[in-house]
């Protein structure tokens, strides 16, 4: 087993910089992967995850910069996206943290997917996506969701969590991908 390789990136939190930031991050990650890994499949997943993490930061954080801690070993990729911006609040998601670990709340549902937030601790939420397969009734396209960021990250990864450190005002989105 090879030693994990870690690197921290400080990136501008602007729409114009996303593409070049994604290219830089993807290049670093792919170069650390063992030769036996299917790099094409992993590259697609990592790229869409990075695009959505960075886009999400622009939409919600309201900061000039964002931090990414990336660790790669021969079994997995970990990406932690951190910012000290606005608390992540779509659907009042952090209000769920008053619940006990294991509490699960439906965030969105359409004819294709159900997205849930699962409370993991008093500071952390895990995102879970389930595919809906109701073959008995036609797909109702009128209720299709139009926000795909969380869905894409959740489905492209093997674990996706959000943590809020109240004392530091720190948002952390953590993504784990098996390779």
């Amino acid at each position: 087993m090879t030693e994990p390789v870690s690197k921290q990136f400080l990136l501008p939190n602007t729409r114009q910089s996303i593409k070049s930031s994604v290219e830089e991050l993807l290049d670093f990650i792919v170069n650390q992967l063992p030769a036996t890994v299917n790099k094409e499949s992993i590259s697609f997943k990592v790229e869409v995850i990075l695009i959505e993490l960075l886009t999400n930061g622009i939409k919600h954080a309201g900061t000039k910069e964002t931090f990414l801690d990336i660790t790669v070993d021969d079994k997995s990729i970990n990406i932690d996206k951190k910012d000290f911006g606005n608390r992540y609040q779509p659907g009042n998601i952090t209000s769920l943290l008053i619940h006990d670990p294991g509490y699960r709340e439906l965030l969105t549902k359409d004819g294709l997917h159900s997205m849930y937030a699962v409370v993991m601790s008093d500071t952390q939420i895990k995102f879970v996506c389930e595919e809906v397969d109701d073959q008995d009734s036609p797909l109702d396209v009128s209720n299709l969701m139009e926000h795909f960021g969380l869905l894409i990250i959740t489905k492209a990864s093997d674990n996706f969590t959000y943590e809020y450190d109240i004392a530091k005002g720190l948002n952390t989105f953590s993504v784990y991908i098996e390779v």
């Binding site: 729409r15 996303i18 593409k19 697609f44 790229e47 869409v48 695009i51 959505e52 886009t55 622009i58 939409k59 294709l112 997917h113 595919e131 797909l139 396209v141 009128s142 299709l144 969701m145 139009e146 926000h147 795909f148 960021g149 869905l151 894409i152 489905k155 492209a156």
Partner: protein, 109 residues
């Protein structure tokens, strides 16, 4: 951004003339598609072969335009998706929603 390629009896063939489909131009794209539909009152097939980069915001705009046209018994069809876009439509299962073609010839033959 959305250029008319050809008008057929029952549909409009258009080309999306951008490389980056993102948060920045998603709303404008949706507005252009709906304006075209309001004028021609036909389903719209969009060639996306020039798109090299797409984010979820733009994906949402495509779905939103699709829902608008569907409500008038028309639809948005997609043409010329790159391998990454094809994978993204598979990941989000939107390949079950949209009719997707390799090129305009496949769609019209």
């Amino acid at each position: 951004m959305v250029k008319i390629h050809k008008e057929l009896d029952d549909m409009l063939l258009v080309k999306l003339d951008i490389k980056e489909a993102s948060l920045e131009n998603g709303d404008a794209f949706k507005a252009e598609v709906i304006t075209l539909f309001d004028k021609y009152q036909k389903s719209i097939a969009i060639d996306m072969s020039s798109v090299e980069y797409i984010d979820s915001s733009f994906l949402g705009s495509i779905v939103s335009a699709f829902k608008h046209l569907i409500s008038f018994k028309s639809e948005v069809m997609l043409v010329g998706l790159s391998k990454d876009l094809t994978n993204l439509f598979g990941l989000t299962r939107l390949d079950k929603v949209f009719k997707i073609y390799n090129n305009f010839d496949d769609l019209t033959k």
